[in-house]
C-alpha cells in the first residue's frame, strides 16, 4: 500500500445539496440574504444563496463568522459536511492503518497505530448516528 495513492479529489466532498442551518438562523434573526452577505463581506446575496442551498461549502472564515453570529459550532451548523468529512476521514484512515501494520514495528509506529485506532473508533460511532 502506497500513501501516494490517496488523493483529495478521489472523495466527492460536496453532494448537490448539503443541509445546513444558515437559512433557519437567518430567518429567525429576520435578516435578508443581502444583509447577511454584507456581514460576510459581499455586495450581493449570491454567496449566501449558494451556501443556504448547500451548493457551496463555507470557507473557514465564513464558518467562524456563522459561529460568532448564531452561537452554533460549525459541526452543528453544517451537519452534512461534518458527516461527509468524518466518512471521508474514516475511509482514508483504514488503509493508513494497514500501511503502518506492514511497516517495521517500533514504539513510534505502535503509538500512531493506537491513535489511529482510537480516532477510527470514534468516527465509526459518529457515522452510526447519522440520519
Amino acid at each position: 500500500m502506497q500513501l501516494g495513492q490517496f488523493s483529495f479529489a478521489q472523495v466527492q466532498l460536496t453532494p448537490p445539496q448539503m443541509f445546513n442551518y444558515i437559512k433557519a438562523h437567518r430567518r429567525n434573526w429576520g435578516l435578508t440574504q443581502k444583509e447577511l452577505g454584507y456581514i460576510l463581506g459581499f455586495d450581493n446575496n449570491v454567496r449566501i444563496c449558494q451556501l443556504e442551498l448547500g451548493k457551496k461549502t463555507p470557507t473557514f472564515s465564513e464558518a467562524i463568522i456563522f459561529e460568532l453570529l448564531f452561537d452554533k459550532a460549525p459541526s452543528r451548523m453544517f451537519p452534512d459536511i461534518y458527516h461527509e468529512t468524518t466518512e471521508m476521514l474514516n475511509q482514508r484512515l483504514e488503509p493508513l492503518e494497514d500501511y503502518f501494520n506492514e511497516q517495521k514495528q517500533t514504539q513510534h509506529t505502535q503509538t500512531i497505530k493506537r491513535r489511529l485506532h482510537e480516532v477510527r473508533k470514534e468516527l465509526t460511532q459518529i457515522n452510526s448516528h447519522r440520519i
Binding site: F19, K23, A24, R27, P79, Y82, I126, R130, I131
Partner: protein, 179 residues
Amino acid sequence: MTTRPPCILGIAVSDKRLGYCVLEPQGFLLDWGVKDFPNRKIKTIEKLLAHLFIFYRPKLLILEDVAHKTCRLSNQNTQMIKKIEKLATIRLIIVQALSWSETKVHLCSNKAPNSVNAAKAVGSTYPVLRDRMPPARKTWQGEHRNMVLLKASAFVSISTRLRLVYCEDIRNHIKTFCL
C-alpha cells in the same frame, strides 16, 4: 456528537397557493413560506416538494385530513393533497393527516376555535411568524394569503404537542416486528 434531529414538515393547501413549515422536534423552525401556483401547475409544487424532501429529509409529513367529516376543502384541493401524499410515500416519508377543525380546538383551548384564534396561538408559539399574522377580515373578504402558512404551522405545532413522531416510530417498529 452532531446528530441531526428528524424534522417534521407541515403542508396546507388552498386555492392557488401552498403553505409549508419545517420544524425540528425541539421547536426550532427551519423553514416556512407560501408558494403560489397560478393555473394549478403541478410542476411548481413538485419542484418545491422535491427541494423540501431532499434538503430537509423530513421524517413526518402532516397534511389536512381530507376524509374527515368537517373537511371543507374543494375537490381540486383534495386531489392536490392526495398527490402530495403520494409523492411523500414514494420517498418513504410517514404521512399523518390531521383534521383542521380538531387542530383549531386543540390550539384555541380557552377561545372560540376559529382560524384567527388558531393563527394567534401559532404566532405566540413561534414569534418569527408574528409578522405573517393576517389582519382580521370582513365577512365579504377572502382568506388572507398568509393563512395557509399559519395553517401549516398549526399542523406542525400540534404534531409536536401530540408527539406524533414518537407514536409513528413505535407503530413502524410494530409493523417491522410483525412482518
